[in-house]
Amino acid sequence: MALTTGERDQVWRAFMRVIAAEPCSFTKQELRAAVDAVDDWATANATAYNTALPTAFKNAATANQKAALLGLVCWLRAGRPLPEGQ
């Protein structure tokens, strides 16, 4: 399910608080537009993502679990520590 405007604002603010280690050569407005684009992309590609999942997981996992899995994979690919520190 696509994020609401308020939820997109939450992502925007969180990015500026959490992803603070690298120089940002983009403005707040450009970042906010990117949040919109990423959420739109997630909506547009939800079916393709679901299709890419192994059948057993795809059939058993909830939509929230699938979204969380994508988020965790992307989070680690971005060089961020996972909650358990591994």
Partner: protein, 176 residues
């Protein structure tokens, strides 16, 4: 006539209570990443998505004459492009003369900086904004005064991403 200065440390700031329109920056103790002994210092971290403000109370020096100007020394947490907007206000009260209730004191109208580019290339590089406080609540030598400093992160002209970290504020003025 000369230029006088009043220094305001982040550690001496008085913060609003966090209610609506009363959002405060975070007071942070920073340890530099340099070789030990690293430099430790205090800073105020102003949010990028809201107007946050802090205040300092002070006695106006006896040699104050005119031309009070706010200098804000700052760096950015991560932004190396975009602009910030700083707002300065004053509230001044002449003891034994003014008759209003100081508990009901309000600030004079805002003095707002131009959209000022953050230091480029290197996040953490110090920059300085100079803002003439032309609306000064008729501040005079000997007054009990309060300085208000804000970053207007809610302004569409404040475009820099991430926190603005204020390490020092100064009021300069022309002396008698």
């Amino acid at each position: 006539m000369a230029t006088g200065s009043i220094l305001f440390s982040p550690g001496a700031a008085v913060f609003p209570d966090g209610s609506a329109s009363n959002l405060a920056p975070a007071l942070q103790r920073v340890k530099s990443s340099g070789t030990a002994p690293g430099v430790y210092f205090l800073q105020l971290a102003f949010d990028a998505a809201a107007l946050e403000w802090a205040t300092w109370q002070f006695r106006v020096p006896a040699d104050y004459a005119s031309a009070i100007t706010l200098k804000v020394v700052f760096k950015m947490t991560s932004a190396v492009t975009g602009n910030v907007i700083v707002v300065g206000r004053l509230a001044a009260y002449t003891s034994n003369t003014d008759t209003t209730d100081f508990d009901a004191k309000v600030f004079a109208a805002a003095n707002t900086s131009a959209a000022t580019a953050v230091p480029a290339t290197t996040a953490g590089k110090l920059g300085e904004i100079s803002l003439a406080l032309s609306t000064d609540d008729s501040i005079a030598a000997g007054d009990m005064a309060v300085l208000y400093v804000a970053r207007d992160g809610a302004s569409g002209s404040d475009t820099a991403a991430g926190d603005m970290e204020v390490v020092e504020c100064t009021l300069t003025y022309t002396t008698t």
